[in-house]
Each structure stands twice: as C-alpha cells, then as structure tokens.
C-alpha cells in the first residue's frame, strides 16, 4: 500500500478562497484520491497542539511524507507553516490563480459556494489530484 500525501487547506475565514480550498481538499481526500491522501488540520498544524495529541502528529506526518498546501490567497499561510515546522511543501496550489483562469464561474459567497463555486472546487480538486499523481510517479 502506498504512503499517503498530506493535504493542508487554507483555513482562512474572511475570504471565499478559504472555503474553496477546504471544499477542494475534501473532494480530493474523499472522492478523487482517497487511498493516496490524508487531510492535515491547518489550525492544529500551526498551533502545535499538546505533546500527545494534535499538531505534533500533523507536523510529524508532514516531515515524513510529501505535503501539498492549498492557498486561499497570496498570504500563503499554509505553505509558510509547513516550511516553518516540517520542511518545504512538495507542492502549492494557489486557489486565487485558478479563480482568475475561470472568470465565467462566480462562487456565491464564503459560506455557500453555490453551483459555480462547487464547479470551481472540483476544478481545483482535479489540479490537486494531478499533483498527487506526479508525486507518486516521481517516487
């Protein structure tokens, strides 16, 4: 059985990019690449958590396995957190850049993506899945 790739999605609340990141992460982990990926909780990762539970497990996983970060905006918080606590991310997906490539799709709001938003999430998820495949091929 293959070792998994960690997916850390933006946990920003103030922007639609955060919601899209999270939706795309769930699509990848639950539907597109369920055996190859695992979600790492971004707040836990950054928080570090208690000695026994929480952030240490996320961080240790990211040290030993390739990690893809999904960024909601140019701040790239997840990428910075991974680099700080575990090592360089294997890949980074910028949601805002994908949104720009699809001006015809207009997500409804940060709390309810709507039909267009879910389509965008699916597009982002496919990009992530491609990266996952590349990472497995290169092993």
């Amino acid at each position: 059985m293959k070792n998994k790739v960690g997916i850390i999605a933006c946990s920003g609340e103030n922007l639609i990019g955060g919601t899209l990141s999270r939706a795309a992460a769930r699509i990848v982990v639950e539907k597109l690449r369920p055996n190859e990926t695992i979600v790492l909780c971004q707040p836990l990762f950054a928080a570090g958590g208690l000695e026994r539970h929480g952030g240490q497990e996320e961080r240790n996983f990211a040290k030993e396995h390739p990690t893809i970060t999904i960024e909601g905006c140019e701040e790239e918080c997840s990428k910075i957190a991974v680099e700080r606590y575990s090592g360089p991310a294997a890949a980074t997906i910028r949601v805002d850049e994908i949104i720009k490539k699809h001006p015809e799709l207009k997500p409804k709001s940060r709390e309810d993506l709507g039909e267009d938003g879910m389509k965008l999430a699916q597009i982002i998820a496919v990009e992530i899945a491609k990266k996952v495949d590349e990472l497995f091929k290169s092993r």
Binding site: M1, K4, K31, P34, I38, H53, E57, F61
Partner: protein, 298 residues
C-alpha cells in the same frame, strides 16, 4: 502532612473588578478553611524557587478573573497538581450577578464572592470524601507505539491487561482501574458523553459496564475483570476529553474491588500481545478501507 496540603492561587488582576472578585474569593475560602494556604501570584512569578516545594507537594485551586487566565498560566509552568479551576466570568453567568464597574465591590458582587467561595469549599469537601472519585496521579508509562498515516497508537508495556474489546485493566493489590485503549479512543474520535455505572454494582468479566459517545458513535466499556465497582471517574462527566487525551491515565472509567483476577487474566492479553493484536486489527481495517475506496472509484 504536606502531601495532602491544598493551596489556592488567585490571579492578581488590578484593572477590573473581576480580578478583585478573584482575590476576594481566595481570601474568603481561606477564612472558611484555614488549612488552605494562599499563594501570591506576584511572588510566584518572580522566581522559579519561590513556592517550589509547596507546589510540588500540594494540590492547587486556581481562581482566574478573566480569559487571560494568569493564575492558570503560572500554575502550568510549574509541576503542579490542579484540582479545581474557577473562572470568574463563568461564575458570574452561573449565579446571574454581573461584575460591577468599579474596583470597590458593591453589595451584589460581595454576594457573588460569598457564593463562589461557598461553591469552592463544597467542591473541596466532595473531593476529599473517599466514596467519590479522585483524580489519579498520572504515572510515566513505557509504551509500545506505532504511527499509521498521521495516527499514533500506544500500548503500555507492563502493568496493563487487555481484552479483545480494546479495554484495559490495571490492578494494584485487590483493586483495579478499568478504561479503554488508545486504539479505541482514536476510533471513537472526540468523546462527548460518558455514561458510568452505579457504585456498588457487582460485575462479571466481559460485562457491559458503561458507554461513551462521540459525534460518530456510541461504544461500550466491556470490563476485562470481575468484581465490585467501588469508584467511578466522575471527572469524565465534565471532561470526557480526558479519555481521548490520556486513555491510560486520567481517562480511567471505573475502579473495581477484584473478585478473582488471577482467573480473569487467563482470558486477557498482556501489553506485548495486545500490541500485536492491535496492529493486526489496524492493518486489516486499513486494507479493507483501501479495497472499499478502490471499488467505489472504479
């Protein structure tokens, strides 16, 4: 004797009435129970040696005036055994008395101080009664461990015995503590409710003696041993997360007066054997899930 000593540590908030209330509560508690010793937060904060021996050998009550939780932070920097934490805003809500705006307490806030200090003394009395559960000292254990994906599973190497329902028993002379394993708490996810049995109940090995519920599922505690229930961990009612955080220590469920542990042990696994059993179980589940997900995506 110092081991049974209780100390009280209030925050020292000076800019709000909440800090004044916290300090007054501590003083009132000492008035009602002169055996309790007051720890000055300012002195505590100025040097590591201050109160060092006292804190190591005592149990601590913390009184925080606000969400900054200065008293808690000070205590957590030391090797302290915290038995009670009071947060004044929560008490204000509980007793429906708003903190006053001034630093001199009004009549209502004086009443709040009385109510909170009465509550502290009452809880302290319950804590000291032998029939009610006490928080157990957390031992430093030696573990077998394994990480699968991001999940980390531990099994104590010695002293614990396990059944196939992933529950453990740890005996000391004629008594034993019972709880669930790391594997089971992981499977359950965040535990929200714990239903404990009645004290005094006689149970047989493999009886269902309680349950715990997470947002995912309800699971049973299946006792690895037989005997009479002499205590239950009432801490779990307010802090079910102890089962997730420390399943082999703070997260214990019941205490038994053992009937025939030598006989019960014959049907149980020791640490090394349970660790192998647990690993096989996890790998089987992982393979099964892998197959299911592969079939779903074909």
């Amino acid at each position: 004797m110092a081991e049974n000593k209780i100390c009280i540590l209030p925050c020292n908030g000076l800019d709000k009435s909440l800090g004044v209330i916290a300090r007054q509560v501590a003083l009132k508690v000492i008035e009602k129970n002169p055996k309790i010793e007051l720890i000055c937060p300012v002195l505590l904060n100025t040097g590591e040696d201050n109160y060092e021996n006292l804190i190591k050998s005592s149990k601590l009550i913390l009184i925080d005036g606000c969400m900054t939780r200065c008293a808690t932070k000070l205590a957590e920097k030391r090797d302290s055994k915290i038995i009670m934490k009071i947060l004044i805003p929560d008490m204000s809500k509980k007793f429906k008395i708003k903190p006053c705006k001034t630093l001199t307490l009004d009549e209502q806030n004086e009443k709040l101080v009385d109510l909170i200090s009465d509550l502290v003394v009452e809880e302290l009395n319950k804590f000291e009664e032998k029939k009610v559960s006490v928080s157990r000292e957390i031992e430093k254990l030696d573990y077998f461990d394994i990480t699968i994906d991001k999940y980390y599973f531990r099994v104590p190497k010695v002293g614990y015995f396990f059944n196939e329902n992933d529950c453990w028993i740890k005996s000391e002379a004629k008594k034993a503590l019972v709880g669930i394993t790391d594997y089971l708490q992981n499977a359950a996810s965040d535990i929200l409710f714990v239903d404990l049995p009645d004290i005094g109940k006689e149970i047989e090995q493999f009886d269902d003696v309680g349950s715990f519920e997470s947002s995912k599922t309800v699971l049973q505690l299946i006792s690895p041993g037989s005997g009479k229930i002499i205590a239950v961990n009432k801490d779990l009612r307010d802090h079910p997360e102890y089962v997730n955080q420390d399943p082999y220590g703070k997260g214990w469920f019941i205490e038994l007066e053992l009937k025939n542990f030598e006989e019960d042990k014959e049907l149980l696994m020791d640490g090394p054997n349970y660790f192998e059993y647990m690993k096989n179980k996890i790998m089987k589940e992982k393979n099964h899930l892998y197959q299911l997900k592969s079939e779903k995506n074909v």
